[in-house]
Symmetry: C2
Subunit: 458 residues, 2 copies
C-alpha cells in the first residue's frame, strides 16, 4: 500500500544535510514535481522536519511553489509557527482541500490558524455536513476534550456479532478512520454501552456477540473535560484511545493517544518554563518573541529585588561597622533561594501528578519542614564553620549559622505553601511561584542575618 523508501535521515530523525541542500536547490529551481514526489514519499513527520530545517525564506518559497500539492498530512506535522505561516500563504482552495482530507481534530487546528473572515469564506466552500461538523468542533472551548477529539470513529449496535462487525468494516473500507484501536458499542440513542478492542475482536469466533466481549468504558470523558484531565486518565489507564460523549451521554468523538502525548509534552514544558519565569518558548521564536516572554517577569523581579535592598538599607549602620556582613549576606540568600527552589520544584511536580490532595498535602508540608530543618542544620553549621575560619569571629559565625537555619525553614515552607496556595486560589502553581518564593526567601535571609547581627554583634 505504501512505498516509504524515504530519503536518508541521519540518526535520531535529524535531517541529512546533503538532502537539505537538494531540497533547497529544488526550491530555487522551482522543481515542483521533484519536491512534491520526494515529500510525499517521506513520512509526513520527517517531511515536516526537513521543511522546518530550511531557512524560513526557503520554507515560504517551497510552500508557495507547492500550493495544493503540499500534502495536508505534512502541513499538520509542522510546528505551530511554521504551520500558521504555511496556512497563511496557501490559496483558499488548498486550505479547503486540506480541511476535507484531514481528520476533524486536525482540520480544527488548521481552522484555528485562520483569520475570522477567511475562515468564514473557506467554510462556505465545504460540503454542508463537513462545515457543520467543523463549526461544532470550533464551538468547544480550547484545551477541552471537545476541541481535541476527532469525530471520525467506529460505532456499532450492541446486538451485532464479531462477524457482522468485521463485514461492516470491510464494506466501509477506506471510509473508516485511518487509525483506530477500538470499536464503540452503542444503543439506538447513540449512548455508549461498551468498548471492544480490535485485539479482542480479532481473537473471537465470528458468532460471538459484541455484548459478551465488550468492556465498560474506563474513562468518562465529555466534550468539556479539561485536556489535562484527559491526559491524566490516558496515562493512568494506559489507553491508546478513548470515547468522548456530549453532556447528554451520547457518543460524539474519539481521542487518540498521540494527541494526548502532545498535550502531556506541552503541559510539562509549560511547567518547566513557568518555574523559571518564562511564559513561552519555541525554537522558531524571534528575538522579539523571546524578549516578550521574559521581560514582564524580569520587570516584576526588578521591584521585588529592591524590596530586598530596602531590608538591607535598614541595617546600613551594621554593615558600615562590620563589613563582613556585606561579604557574607549573599551566601545566606543564595543557599536559601536554592533550598526554596528545590521544594518548589518538588511541590509543582507533585501537584501536576495529582499527588498533593487532602491528607497528602499535610504530610508533604510536614515532610518539607523536617527536611528543611535537617538541611538547614547541616548547611547552617557548614556556613558557620567557614565563616569562623575566615573571620575568626565566633559571634559572626553563630549569627550566620542561625540565620541560615531560619532561612531554610522559611524557604522550605514557602516552597510548598506558595504553590499550594496559588492552586487553591485557582491559579497555575507553576506560574509566579518562584518570584514569590525567591522574594520571600531573600527578605528572610537579609532580615534574619542582618537583624541578628545587629542584636548580637553591635
Amino acid at each position: 500500500m505504501t512505498d516509504t523508501s524515504a530519503p536518508p535521515l541521519s540518526e535520531q530523525g535529524k535531517t541529512d544535510p546533503v538532502f537539505l541542500t537538494d531540497l533547497a536547490d529544488a526550491v530555487d529551481e522551482g522543481d515542483i514535481r521533484w519536491l512534491s514526489r520526494t515529500l510525499k514519499r517521506m513520512h509526513p513527520a520527517d517531511a515536516a522536519d526537513a521543511l522546518e530545517a530550511l531557512p524560513y525564506d526557503t520554507f515560504e518559497e517551497a510552500v508557495e511553489l507547492l500550493g495544493g500539492e503540499l500534502p495536508p498530512e505534512i502541513l499538520i506535522e509542522l510546528r505551530d509557527s511554521y504551520r500558521e505561516g504555511a496556512v497563511e500563504m496557501l490559496p483558499d482552495t488548498a486550505v479547503a482541500q486540506a480541511l476535507d482530507e484531514l481528520d476533524s481534530d486536525d482540520a480544527t487546528t488548521i481552522l484555528e490558524d485562520l483569520e475570522e473572515d477567511r475562515r468564514e469564506r473557506i467554510l462556505e466552500d465545504l460540503a454542508p455536513v463537513d462545515r457543520a461538523g467543523l463549526e461544532r468542533s470550533l464551538a468547544f472551548e480550547e484545551e477541552t476534550a471537545g476541541r481535541l477529539m476527532q469525530t471520525e470513529f467506529v460505532a456499532v449496535p450492541e446486538f451485532w456479532t464479531v462477524g457482522q462487525t468485521i463485514d461492516h468494516a470491510r464494506n466501509l473500507g477506506t471510509d473508516l478512520p485511518e487509525v483506530f484501536y477500538e470499536i464503540y458499542v452503542i444503543d439506538p440513542g447513540y449512548r455508549l454501552k461498551g468498548i471492544v478492542s480490535l485485539a479482542s475482536l480479532l481473537r473471537q469466533p465470528r458468532d460471538t456477540g459484541l455484548e459478551d466481549i465488550m468492556h465498560e468504558p474506563t474513562t468518562e470523558l465529555n466534550t468539556s473535560t479539561d485536556q489535562e484531565d484527559v491526559a491524566f486518565q490516558f496515562q493512568k489507564y494506559s489507553l491508546a484511545s478513548a470515547p468522548v460523549t456530549d453532556t447528554a451521554g451520547r457518543l460524539v468523538g474519539m481521542i487518540t493517544v498521540d494527541d494526548m502525548v502532545d498535550v502531556m509534552h506541552s503541559e510539562h514544558s509549560e511547567d518547566l518554563l513557568a518555574l523559571s519565569n518564562v511564559s513561552s518558548a519555541d525554537a522558531s521564536d524571534t528575538v522579539f518573541e523571546t524578549v516578550r516572554a521574559r521581560l514582564p517577569w524580569l520587570a516584576i523581579n526588578l521591584f521585588t529585588a529592591f524590596i530586598a535592598s530596602a531590608i538591607i538599607s535598614v541595617f546600613e549602620g551594621a554593615i558600615e561597622e562590620v563589613v563582613a556582613l556585606a561579604i557574607l549576606m549573599p551566601v545566606v540568600a543564595a543557599l536559601g533561594g536554592n533550598a526554596g527552589s528545590q521544594g518548589l520544584a518538588v511541590a509543582v511536580r507533585a501537584i501536576a501528578s495529582r499527588q498533593l490532595d487532602g491528607a497528602s498535602a499535610r504530610r508533604a508540608i510536614l515532610k518539607e519542614f523536617m527536611a528543611a530543618a535537617f538541611n538547614g542544620l547541616l548547611i547552617g553549621a557548614g556556613v558557620g564553620l567557614i565563616a569562623l575560619f575566615w573571620f575568626a569571629d565566633t559571634g559572626l559565625a553563630l549569627v550566620i549559622a542561625i540565620a541560615m537555619f531560619g532561612t531554610f525553614l522559611w524557604a522550605g515552607l514557602s516552597g510548598i505553601l506558595v504553590p499550594l496556595g496559588l492552586k487553591r486560589l485557582g491559579a497555575d502553581p507553576a506560574v509566579a511561584s518562584s518570584v514569590f518564593v525567591l522574594t520571600l526567601t531573600d527578605v528572610m535571609a537579609f532580615f534574619s542575618f542582618l537583624g541578628l547581627a545587629t542584636i548580637v554583634l553591635l
Copy 2:
C-alpha cells in the same frame, strides 16, 4: 468478558474517603474475601490508587493478608516504592505466579525489585522457557528498548492472507497478548518485513495478501536503543506500538505507547527537578530520602556561594566607603540570576526536544545574546533610574546600570552555553547546569558592579 462495576471514585481518580474507610476496616477485620473481590472488580490502576491512599502500615497489612490473592495487574500499577514494599512482603510462590501471569516487560520490573539471591530462587521455580526469556530481558541495560519491550507480540509470515491471519488469531485466542495494535510480518529468519495495523487488517477482504497491505516500519528500534530515543520516535511518528529487533535485525519484542508515556513523564520530571537541583522526588519519599536528594546540591552550592563572597571581599574597601554598594549588589545578582535561569530553562527544554542541533544551536546562541542585550538594556536602565532616585548619585546609577547590562549578557550566554557544553561532554544538560549558571552569574554580578564602582566612584 469483564465486570467493572467498580466502587465509587470521586472526580479525577481521587479515591472516595468512605470507600477508603471500608477498605481499612476490611484490612483490620482480616476480611480477605471482601478485599480480594472488591479489588478485583476495580480497574487495576484505581485499585492501586486506593491501596496507596491507605496509611502505609495498613497497606502492608493488606498485602500480607492478600498474599497470592493480590492480582499481579494491581501490583504492577503501584508506585515504585509501594510495589517494592509489596514484593518484599509477598511469599515466593505469589511472586513466581505474578511473573508467570504478567507480560515480560512487567515481569522484568518485578524481578528488578528482588534481591539477587531471592531472584535466583524464584527464577528456578519458573518453567525453563519463561526463565530463559526473563533472564534475557534482564541482561539488557536499564533504560533501553530491550528492557522496556515485551516479548509477547503477534508475528506472521509474509505470504499469509488477511483471512489466515484472523483464523490464526482466533485459534490462539487468549494465548494472544492482552493488548496489541498491530501485527508484524516476518520472513522465515524472523526478520521484520512490514507492519499491518489491526485497523487495516479489519477493513480488507479475507483473501488480501499481507504483503499488499503492510507498510514499512517507521522506526528502527533495536534492543540497545536508549529509552529517550524510543519515546522521541513514539511522539514524532504518533505511534501506539513499535517493533524491536536484535542487533542481527531479528524481531524480538514490542513496545507499547503506555510504557513510553511513563518514560516521557519521568524524563520530563527529571529535567524539571534537575533544573532546581533535586536529584529525585516521590510523594512517598521519607524525610531521609528527601534530604538525600537535595543535600549534595546544597553542599556544592555552599562552596560556590563562598566564591561569590570571596569576590565581594576583594572590594571590602569600596563597600566600607560607599555602603550603598552593599545595599544594591543583591539586585544585580538576583536579576542576573533570573535572566540566566530563563535562558537555561529554554535551552534545556529545546535540547530535550532535539531542537538545538548544528545550525539551530548557533542561531539560538545569537538569539539569546540579542534577547539578553535587549532585556539588559531595559532592566539596566530601570535599575539605574531607581538607584538614581534612591541615592541621588549619577555615578552610582550609571555603574549599576552598566553592571546590570554586562551581567545580563553574561547570564544569557552562560544560560545557553553551559547546557550545550554539558551535552557535548556527554552529560545531562539539566543536571548541574543551574549551579554553574548561577555561580557564574553571581561572580560576574558582584565583580562587575563592585569593580566598576571602585574605578568610577573612588
